[in-house]
Amino acid sequence: MARSTSKDAQDLFRALWSAYSATPTNLKIIDLYVMYAVFTALIQVVYMAMVGSFPFNSFLSGVLSCVGTAVLAVCLRIQVNKENKEFKDLAPERAFADFVLCNLVLHLVIMNFLG
């Protein structure tokens, strides 16, 4: 049983990998970007866990800026994804413009909150 599950897991991951490698490059870039943001956030969380969250607003803005960027990037990815039927009529350029706007607003707030 355990072997079967592990085997399943293996070819599941193989299948996942093959499926993923099929995705176009620009989506991969976005994924990479998301990864980058998420890891940065994680590092900050670790730091907080180690030394405590004294300048709480700084910590919050740091983590949230990373998470926010990641979330926005995910949104962008969803929108520009060709397979995604829901956004046929939405041009990727428009999506990118929204993405930029959203980021600018987000970081204005971050900067204000950074203290």
Binding site: I29, M35, T40, Y47, E93, R94, L108
Partner: protein, 698 residues
């Protein structure tokens, strides 16, 4: 047996107050005449700011005082004051300034040419004619007088002296007071001014003033003196009853104004104003009793009035003063008495006679009767060389009397009859056979008894329980061998825990004894067992060897406090003197600073945060990112570059916002950049969209 826990200080204060009270109530220490202390005070109070005084009035007062007191090292203000005087010596200056300018000039003798005096004089006369208010009359007449002294050639005589005299007299009241204007409120101060003015009128009169009017004024003066106020130490003074109307004058200025007026008037009128000498003396006492006033004005009034009293035509007060009012029997002091005038110059030849002396406790039994004091030429003192044996330690009242050698001196001088002076005769009181004992309660049998020499410092240590008694006794005898009862004879028991109990040691004859029955005191002692320090206080004003000494300690064991009514310990009384001492320093509570990580750790994590970025870049390379999609043609390319530049600019702006800008400037700038971004972004993105669409279609 009176028991006062923890009230020693209050009790002492109370007793001192009582002593004070009854010592003053039958005789008062006499103030001495003017001394050098006044001179130094004058120099302090009248210190010119950078070379000159604030006003002419003040500079007059200063100069006058320096003159009277013959102060040597007086500041030289001539150079600075004379110009002021000159600029004020114009006929248009207000009367008051003119008046004081002239007064200053009278002292400083500035160079003023006569014509100035002439037209001032003419103007003054005009004002005198039609002046209604007393103050105007006072100033103008005073000024005229001064001109008269300073410029002999100017004609200052009043043509219509009678009229002026009358107009001033018209302001007088029936009670000798005067009115400033025709308004009804009358004032003693005004009376002084009026009298001075009247005196001036008389001197300035071209023709003799009608004598009857002068006598009327004399009666006014007598009436005025009927309204004189009196302190019970024989000092007389005038006080301003009414408040309001004009500015209220204090008793000093009022009195001195009256003195000025009366003596000025007395100086110019023929015939004597028969004022009782003791009142004049009382006035002198009043001014001397002030001591050294802190206020320049008061000092001036005091000194000038004293100067007037020193040489007046009515009667010159003689001041009898004692250099010391305490005489120690132990070092055979002599009783010394000085007699001076108010300013301290020597008195005419006279004998001081000690009418009698009596103790304050036994008023009617005189210890000394009629003795003359010897006059000691070189010291200028009248001395009573030895005190008779009847004089024991204690407080006495000596009654002196001055007898002038030449009989008619009585009319010139005011000696003030019999003078009561309190004298403290002190001496060493012998403390003898003191013994301290602990005895059993029931049959007073002595358990432990110790005799101790209170003069020396030997210490006893006793122990007792609550069933026993504590007895302490000693004797006090005066040098003359009589019994002596001090004001303070306290026994203090002080527990380790600072709770102290004070007992008054009662006396029977010479023997002082106190018996503490601990059984009755258990309550009062709050059931506190343990070591009590014993302290004895014997003190009196006339006792030269007052002492406060520890007698040792007493180990007292008291029963446990019954749980039912355990008296909770009252708070310890704070020492009343610490109340005025520095308070405990306030320690402010600050928020404890949050713990911050060590910097290198933070730096490490900073570098760690860079790792994902590097990973990101590496990943990009792995994916083989390229800029093929970047527009090749010119216009879109520029737009694209501008677009990215714009975004960069906004981000930089945010950094600036974080560093120094404030929100609103940032928002404004962001809006501008936003418009720009919108434009270029729209261009480039639409271009991209069209190209991609073309690709699809193709």
């Amino acid at each position: 047996m009176l028991l006062l826990p923890r009230m020693s200080s209050n009790l002492a204060r109370l007793l001192l107050l009582l002593l004070f009270a009854f010592s003053i109530c039958d005789a008062v220490a006499l103030p001495g005449p003017i001394s050098d202390r006044h001179r130094s005070a004058a120099l302090e109070l009248f210190a010119p700011q950078h070379g000159s005084f604030a006003s002419l009035e003040e500079s007059y007062e200063a100069l006058r005082i320096f003159e009277i007191l013959a102060v040597r090292e007086k500041p030289d203000v001539r150079a600075t004051t004379c110009p002021k005087v000159l600029e004020n010596l114009v006929s248009s200056t207000p009367l008051k300034d003119l008046f004081y300018a002239l007064k200053v000039n009278g002292i400083l003798k500035c160079k003023v040419n006569g014509d100035i005096f002439k037209d001032i004089a003419s103007r003054l006369k005009a004002t005198v004619k039609d002046a209604k208010t007393l103050v105007d009359l006072y100033y103008s007449i005073g000024s005229l007088l001064l001109i008269k002294d300073q410029a002999s050639d100017v004609d200052v005589l009043l043509a219509d002296a009678d009229g002026t005299f009358h107009s001033i007299k018209a302001l007088s009241q029936s009670d000798g007071k005067w009115r400033y204007t025709d308004k009804p409120e009358s004032s003693t101060y005004a009376a002084g001014l009026a009298l001075e003015a009247l005196a001036g009128v008389i001197t300035l009169a071209s023709s003799e003033i009608d004598q009857s009017r002068v006598n009327l004024v004399k009666n006014d003066i007598l009436k005025l003196f009927d309204s004189i106020e009196k302190y019970d130490d024989g000092t007389f003074y005038f006080d301003e009853k009414l408040v309001g109307g004009h500015e209220h004058q204090g008793s000093i200025s009022t009195t001195s104004s009256v003195v000025r007026g009366v003596f000025a008037f007395a100086a110019v009128t023929s015939g004597k104003i028969n004022l009782p000498g003791d009142k004049i003396l009382g006035l002198a006492k009043f001014f001397l009793g002030i001591g050294i006033p802190g206020d320049a004005k008061d000092l001036f009034n005091q000194i000038e009035s004293l100067a007037l009293l020193e040489s007046n035509r009515i009667s010159i007060p003689l001041i009898l003063s004692l250099p010391a009012s305490v005489y120690s029997l132990s070092n055979k002091d002599k009783l010394k008495v000085r007699v001076n005038t108010v300013l301290g110059s020597a008195a005419p030849p006279l004998t001081v006679k000690l009418v009698r002396a009596f103790s304050t406790v036994a008023k009617d039994s005189a210890v000394i009767q009629n003795k003359d004091l010897k006059y000691d030429q070189n010291s200028g003192h009248h001395v009573l060389d030895v005190l008779p044996d009847e004089v024991d330690v204690g407080i006495y009242v000596f009654v002196f009397e001055m007898v002038l050698h030449d009989a008619d001196g009585e009319k010139v001088y005011a000696t003030g009859g019999q003078i009561h002076v309190p004298i403290y005769v002190t001496g060493i009181v012998k403390v003898s056979n003191a013994e301290i004992a602990v005895l059993d309660n029931d049959l007073g049998s002595i358990e432990t008894q110790k005799t101790l020499d209170l003069a020396g410092n030997d210490i006893v240590s006793l122990s007792a329980n609550h069933l026993q008694k504590f007895r302490f006794s000693f004797q006090l005898t005066t040098p003359r061998g009589h019994a002596f009862k001090p004001h303070q004879a306290f026994l203090k028991l002080k527990h380790e825990t600072k709770y102290e109990h004070i007992f008054v040691v009662g006396n029977a004859g010479k023997k002082f004894e106190i018996v503490l029955d601990f059984l009755g005191l258990v309550e009062k002692f709050y059931y506190l067992s343990g070591r009590y320090d014993i302290e004895l206080t014997v003190g009196d004003a006339v006792m030269e060897n007052s002492f406060l000494r520890p007698l040792g300690h007493l180990e007292l064991d008291l029963p446990e406090a019954p749980t039912s009514k355990a008296p909770r310990l009252p708070p310890l009384a704070v020492d009343p003197y610490t109340r005025y001492g520095p308070k405990a320093e306030i320690t402010h509570l600050f928020r404890t600073p949050e713990k911050r990580p060590p910097t290198q750790l933070s730096l490490i994590f900073l570098s760690l945060t860079l790792l994902p970025l590097i990973g990101f870049l590496v990943g990009l390379l792995r994916l083989g990112v390229n800029l093929r999609n970047f527009p090749s043609s010119a216009a879109p390319a520029t737009y694209a570059i501008l677009f990215h530049l714009g975004i960069a600019a906004v981000l930089v702006l945010y950094v600036l916002f974080w560093l120094k800008l404030d929100l609103f400037t940032t928002l404004k700038t962001t809006a501008l950049l936003g418009v720009f971004l919108l434009f270029v972004g729209h261009r480039i993105l639409s271009h991209l969209a069209t190209t991609s669409a073309k690709l699809k279609s193709a």
